[in-house]
Subunit: 517 residues, 2 copies
């Protein structure tokens, strides 16, 4: 009686929940179609198809925005989030309401004309950026970068923040992440990584993997076969997946967890890129395939954040795939596919090639030690830009200075410098730090996995990867987005994000790898 009086009769709540989920399922269906439009664009679409594809993607995005800002969804939320109703819901349903509420609030805070302007400017800016990078012409791109920074500042004002407008952007990609957390975190990374890099360089051990691989031609079809072997070993389910080729490798859940795909790119004179990419995208894909099917077609049926997602890709790529044990098992398999390799490498020297440190101008080609220094450069630059402390025209010089200071290399062109990444042209500022978060989470999760699975290292050295995959499924993947990143990392590892697992892992590994100290 009391419940009826407060407007929350159980039958009505149950019915509202059913309708709410049916409504959310349609939003997910639009996301399914959008994801397929994107997948096809990168993997198969003929060049002529660009214009109608852009229109179709735009219309689906518009419809999704309409669904997410309509009074239908706010009515559902008002009913379900009334305090006396909310407490009657299961924890997962509470998480669902909270997640949708968060999304709707964000959508509503952004005025439609700002959303549209952002979409138009970034759509054009990507073309401008492509040409500018090709022509090494930063000046052609700089007015667009200025516009994008300005639009992001306006988005931040609409979304709201406490300390820095940059925090509002960070939160778009990693729930609750702030620069107050990131700044000391990056400082501690820098304190470890820069000296480690210097010691490695002082060791006199040359990074000559590229030179050793160069004389061999690595046939794409054969590389593909080896990557399939790796993916099967790590438990990627081809019955619910597709592996294809694209210029910029990616993974994507089209109907998560039933249809999760990935792409790889094959370099003919160096197999390491395809191997690392296969493990990396495989890690993302195994995550999405491992999400509880009961969460499918809800906003919880996906990876919880970019940082946690990246932890799964980096764990397989680096903690597993660049380990000495891994290549004890997989080098002979690889050498069977490419017998020429057996004449130049053995398991250990192949591991050394997979884990060599060579400061690079290009983030996507960088090694484990320098990767986060690349992110640091971007973090510092975009934070200052959003806070209005930097002029866009100064960015090329700032980029060069920071690269020189942290990595000891200086780009000779802007194409190899400030123009190298697609992210800013897409409007994504505040995204890069999630890559570093991923590395930190990965080390912390892997550290826990080693304790939970006492035979983990010998398993890996025997090519037995499924116990690790199953542990990740159970600990991290299964819950999808029904727990926050912070909850997950605390539940799994017993503490909040702690960067020392990463710095210890890296120091220990590379001290040994390079015979330091």
């Amino acid at each position: 009686m009391a419940e009826t009086a407060t407007g929350c009769p159980p039958e009505k709540t149950a019915q509202t929940l059913i309708e709410f989920k049916a409504y959310l399922a349609e939003i997910q269906d639009l996301g399914h179609a959008s994801a397929l439009l994107g997948w096809d664009r990168e993997t198969l679409m003929p060049p002529g198809g660009i214009a109608p594809r852009a229109s179709a993607s735009g219309t689906l995005a518009k419809l999704s925005h309409q669904y997410r800002t309509s009074t239908v969804i706010t009515d559902f939320l008002n009913t379900l989030s009334a305090s006396d109703c909310l407490k009657t819901l299961s924890p997962v349903n509470q998480a669902l309401v909270s997640e949708v509420q968060r999304d709707v609030e964000k959508q509503q805070k952004l005025p439609a004309d700002l959303v549209q302007e952002f979409s138009q400017v970034t759509s054009e800016a990507q073309h401008i950026w492509q040409r500018a990078r090709k022509d090494n012409d930063f000046k052609a791109f700089s007015p667009w970068l200025e516009k994008i920074a300005d639009l992001n500042r306006r988005r931040a004002e609409c979304l709201g923040y406490e300390d820095s407008p940059y925090d509002a952007l960070l939160d778009l990609y990693e729930r609750d992440l702030t620069s107050a957390q990131l700044t000391p975190l990056f400082a501690s990374l820098k304190d470890t990584l820069v000296p480690l890099l210097q010691k490695i360089q002082a060791s006199g051990i040359k990074a000559d993997g590229a030179e050793k691989f160069a004389p061999i031609t690595f046939n794409s079809e054969k590389q593909k076969v080896f990557c399939q072997t790796l993916l099967k070993s790590m438990g990627y389910d081809f019955h619910r997946g597709v592996m294809a080729v694209s210029a910029h490798p990616f993974s994507c859940g089209i109907g998560t967890p039933s249809d999760v795909r990935l792409t790889i790119r094959y370099k003919l004179n160096d197999p390491r890129e395809a191997i690392a990419t296969g493990l990396h995208e495989g890690g993302h894909a195994v995550y999405e395939q491992g999400i509880d099917p009961a969460l499918a077609r809800t906003p919880l049926g996906t990876g919880v954040s970019l940082g946690i997602h990246e932890s799964q890709s980096r764990l397989w790529e680096n903690n597993v795939g660049r380990s000495q044990g891994f290549w004890q098992h997989f080098f002979p398999v690889f050498a069977e596919v490419f017998p020429e390799v057996g004449q130049i490498f053995d398991a250990n020297s192949f591991y050394q090639a997979m884990s060599e440190v060579r400061p690079s101008l290009i983030r996507t080609e960088s090694d484990e030690v320098t990767y986060n220094l690349h992110i640091l450069v971007r973090y510092e630059i975009e934070k200052d830009l959003i806070e209005g402390k930097t002029d866009v025209l100064d960015l090329p010089e700032i980029w060069r200075e920071k690269m020189n200071a942290y990595l000891g290399v200086t780009p000779n062109t802007d194409s190899n410098g400030v123009l190298q990444d697609v992210h800013w042209s897409m409007g994504a500022m505040g995204y890069f730090p999630t890559y570093t978060l991923g590395n930190l989470y990965a080390a912390q999760f892997f550290n826990t996995a080693k304790k939970a699975l006492p035979t983990l290292e010998s398993d890996i050295a025997n090519g037995t990867l499924l116990p690790l995959k199953q542990w990740l499924n159970k600990q991290i993947h299964h819950v999808g987005a029904s727990e926050t990143p912070d909850t997950i990392v605390r539940r799994v590892t017993g503490e909040a994000l702690n960067p020392t697992y990463f710095t210890s892992y890296l120091t220990e590994k590379y001290v040994e790898r390079y015979g330091l100290d």
Copy 2:
């Protein structure tokens, strides 16, 4: 002033037209996404992806239905179709208004619950049918066929008709087509085809193509290369297209005319299927690629009807691809890809293999002479079924009788008989006759092409196919759906559909091929 008084000021009309087209473009965008979902399902989707794909397709269909029945679209139509407004529009815009009006009226006549029931029943029925065909178990499928016939009768009642409820269904696939037209047309075909077939069989010339090809293995990759050569020769633009593999070949406009795709299936012991399919699907695809880009993202930017569409595929497959001249040029090309073939065939005997007549139990494997007899069997059966003159349980026996009477072959199983086609399980009744219309239109168009292009036959014999493609582009493809099928055939050929072009073509060709009379 008078115009303003009647509510049709030119500026307002122009503005309404812009908004109307923007609205229609969004419906086309949903169609674009739906087409891609279908393409991917047949070509690439992993088996696990079935369930989420069905949901996503269903949601897009629902949204499209909402767009097409909303008051927004009826308001546009009310404004634009007011007689004093309509006459101020260009002919293409008048056609657009008329086409949309026709679609909206149909959508509105069908109650939402009937649409939904139809969708659910046919979605389930396809699975039931697949199993029933596999198990040769007509009884398992018959209750579903009964339901589908009943739903189609109800649809016909909602849509309205003059003579037969079957006419309402025919009109769904070919505008204005009626059984009053079809019955005499099929009668005249039967009068020509059945005696022709009997004479061919009495000639004593064996159909032994399959036996001759059987010892050779036709590598799929090489067949693909030859099909690419054919498609390039007929002017299919790979810059705006993709050629893939699927179990049931099809073509599909995803962003017509900028992205039009096709699939082929390769049989390892008989290359004729891939050749015929390549030309057939290529004909469909060249049609869609040839539509005026100014019609893109409107309902006029597509093939006008199933019959006209099929005319383009059959023209290339049969009138061109099964002609003696065609193989004068292309046999040597084929024999270069498969040298073994050169030891068994020459250009003429290869042509004979491509045009041999062998009554088959299966429609999709049938030759030019018997194909329309297969359609006749289906036409008579489904017309009687919709008119309530037949009991579903009698269909297997009726099927056997008609096959024996018209083609002289009797299926030994229902899988090879009444259960062979997917169409009925999809709810499509009234669709089959458009296949025959396609054959008739093709012969009539080809007859005109020969007059318009005096060197057509020698061009084909030289492998020069582009003049024909360009003529078809200009005469038929360019207008898209902005003219009715009847208008197109009259404009191009100077008369209405006339089946004697087909019967003359076939008689002349096969009298010569088999040395009859």
